[in-house]
């Protein structure tokens, strides 16, 4: 066992020997996964997708399991999306009392689901070569299986709301979600992670969007300066399926998402919008990987970031178009605004094309606030600070506007407002 994996050892022993968290049918999976993780260790910067992001902050103290806890009504209200059903988790543990489950959708605890819906869930439990997925599989104690049945249009968005409160120990939170949006169905999912603790969240989600189904998926992670978060999402798209994602990252000591889109059949389309704002010593890393595996598929992405103070941002966007995937339309744009001389961003858009009849564009920009624009605003009595804020807000205006007209809109504005700085 390596030095880095030792941080997880004692928590793992308590988990695997506790029948409440590790029912008989889960024990093997946990043990194998933990061994895999211990073999591989945390991702190193030798791995291409981790080139600009270090996992050093995960070595500082041993991790413990979360305890059930309460959260005050005001905090809950501020984090909830109005008009949405919600499934609330605190320190990684499902809280039935605070949840408002939907009536038109089947939602099962993920550990139960491994027993009851084994053939649906088990195929997702393969860690491939991702040690963090192994770590999640060793530890997951919360999360849901959501099944949206054929041709059902879910009435309200479903918010998976992960909250934390500070405990004396540093907690490892390992959500695992699997979502099936069956043929012709429509659903909106909002996966929210809020935390201002030293905790480490390691989330894994699979979303299957079947023939002609439409899924809107918001991932938001609003973190304090000591909070750690990594996640891996895989979206599997069938014929004429559509996924629309909005990925919001605010703050965080380590705040990394990796979104993979597998466009498996003709007519599948994916929209990827993202917004990240880092300040202080925050480190935000967004990885997107779009795999055009069939002809007549399309993807469009716009990620925008604001980096303040000494913060660091990373955008790693890879589009792959396989041989025979003709008539693919793939667009990608990443734009960054550096608000200080000490802020840094690494942007790596990549295109790998093996088909010849495709329409692709990609690009990345990194810029500062425009001196002439600042002067224009200042010449109209607006303070330098306000002028900067207005221009930063203008910079992200288009991507924020992409979520207009749905339940998330107001929530997003409130979250940006309370995060403050260039976001207001």
């Amino acid at each position: 066992m390596s030095e880095t994996t030792r941080q997880f050892e004692s928590a793992f022993q308590s988990l695997v020997n506790d029948a409440q968290w590790t029912p008989a049918w889960l024990k093997d999976l946990r043990q194998t996964s933990f061994e895999q993780f211990a073999q591989a260790g945390l991702p190193s910067r030798q791995i291409e997708a981790w080139k600009y992001t270090s996992t050093r902050s995960l070595n500082e103290s041993p991790f413990a399991l979360g305890h059930a806890s309460a959260i005050d009504a005001e905090t809950l209200a501020a984090r909830s999306v109005a008009g949405a059903s919600r499934v609330v988790f605190i320190n990684g543990i499902f809280n039935a009392a605070l949840s408002e489950l939907p009536t038109d959708v089947s939602i099962t605890d993920i550990r139960e689901a491994l027993d009851t819906d084994r053939e649906m869930v088990m195929p997702c439990m393969s860690a491939e070569d991702d040690s963090l997925v192994s770590l999640n599989q060793a530890f997951f104690s919360s999360g849901v299986l959501i099944k949206v049945n054929k041709n059902v249009t879910v009435a309200k968005p479903i918010q998976l709301l992960f909250l934390q409160d500070a405990q004396s120990e540093t907690v490892l939170i390992s959500p695992r979600n699997i979502i099936f949006v069956e043929a012709g169905a429509q659903a909106q999912i909002i996966e929210s992670h809020f935390g201002d603790t030293k905790n480490f969240t390691n989330a894994v989600t699979d979303v299957f969007v079947k023939d002609n189904a439409v899924c809107q998926y918001v991932l938001e992670r609003v973190l304090g300066s000591e909070t750690k978060y990594v996640s891996r999402h895989s979206f599997h798209l069938a014929r004429d399926a559509r996924i629309e994602t909005f990925n919001l990252a605010l703050g965080g000591r380590l705040n990394r998402s990796q979104l993979e889109f597998r466009l498996n059949a003709p007519g599948a389309s994916a929209k990827l919008d993202g917004l990240y704002i880092a300040r202080g010593d925050n480190h935000i890393d967004n990885v997107t990987e779009v795999l055009h595996l069939a002809p007549h598929t399309s993807s469009a992405q716009l990620y925008k970031g604001i980096l303040e103070d000494k913060s660091r941002g990373v955008f790693n966007g890879k589009i792959t178009i396989v041989k025979d995937a003709q008539h693919v339309d793939a667009q990608q744009l990443n734009k960054n605004l550096l608000m200080s001389r000490e802020a840094e961003v690494d942007s790596r858009p990549q295109l790998i094309i093996d088909a010849n009849d495709v329409k692709c564009s990609h690009g990345a920009t990194i810029g500062q606030l425009d001196e002439q624009e600042l002067f224009y605003l200042q010449s109209r009595a607006i303070s330098l600070e306000d002028a900067k804020r207005m221009l930063a807000k203008a910079f992200i205006g288009d991507v924020v506007g992409r979520v207009s007209g749905n339940h998330f809109t107001k929530h997003l504005q409130d979250v940006l407002q309370s995060f403050g700085g260039g976001a207001q």
Partner: protein, 250 residues
């Protein structure tokens, strides 16, 4: 109100203003004319506090609370909050900032400086629409992004709308007349005249005599090669109209 003494200004290693003097009192209207590249816009931007221009010697004082203050130490926004206003020769476009929001931010910044409460959104809306009407600006302008896709003339009108909202004590209008057709010129001039009182002052930078038929200057100055080379009354403008600048340059 504004006193400029022996002003020398450099921009990118080039001396543009070379010992310029100008004195403006409350209640006065001044016109500054001069050939292209003589330093007129430079002068206006230096007064407004543009960071690109370096004052190498001389002084600019401006009355704040009836006392002359060295404004070279003041940030551009502080100058503006104290009643200085520059209508730009080339107003820039700022995508993503709605005109109305921009006007409100500007107006509220001045309110805050004066220690009064910001105007309520609704009241401000009505206030701005009133001003827009005066300048015959379509109110759909207000919802558009700041100057984006406006014609040259529309941008100039928008500058005067900002002036009307901020009601400055000293307004510098840098070639506000160029790009305006006859009707627009009349409307804009009438708007400016309505804002004119005994307590404020206007400096118009212009190439043409045209605007001086609408806004009557008390003084006309000719700026050439970084200095005021001649000052007079409105007859000087007429003479320039007839004879050009050459006779003044040697």
């Amino acid at each position: 109100m504004l006193n400029i003494e022996n002003l020398h200004v450099r921009v990118e290693e080039k001396e543009v203003l070379k010992g310029l003097n100008l004195h403006i009192k409350a209640g006065e209207v001044h016109a500054i004319m001069g050939p292209n590249g003589s330093g007129k816009s430079t002068l206006s931007k230096v007064i407004a506090g543009h960071p690109e221009y370096t004052v190498t010697s001389g002084s600019i004082t401006y009355d704040v609370n009836f006392r002359p203050k060295n404004i070279l130490d003041m940030q551009p926004d502080e100058r503006a909050r104290n009643g200085l206003f520059l209508a730009f020769q080339y107003p820039i476009e700022i995508p993503g900032i709605p005109n109305l929001e921009f006007l409100r931010a500007a107006f509220n910044a001045v309110c805050k400086h004066q220690g009064v409460d910001p105007m309520e959104h609704k009241a401000f809306d009505a206030f701005v629409r009133e001003k827009a009407k005066l300048l015959e600006i379509d109110s759909s302008f207000l919802d558009r992004e700041l100057n984006v896709d406006l014609s040259g003339g529309e941008k100039k009108r928008n500058e005067i709308l900002q002036m009307a909202v901020l009601n400055p004590r000293l307004a510098l209008l840098d070639e506000t007349d160029s790009g305006l057709d006859v009707d627009s010129l009349r409307i804009v001039s009438e708007g400016v005249n309505k804002l004119k009182t005994d307590d404020n002052a206007i400096v118009m930078i212009t190439h043409y005599h045209r605007i001086l038929n609408y806004i009557k200057p008390d003084f006309v100055h000719v700026l050439a090669d970084g200095r005021i080379v001649r000052s007079g009354d409105v007859s000087l403008a007429l003479e320039i109209e007839e004879r050009g600048y050459d006779w003044l340059l040697n």
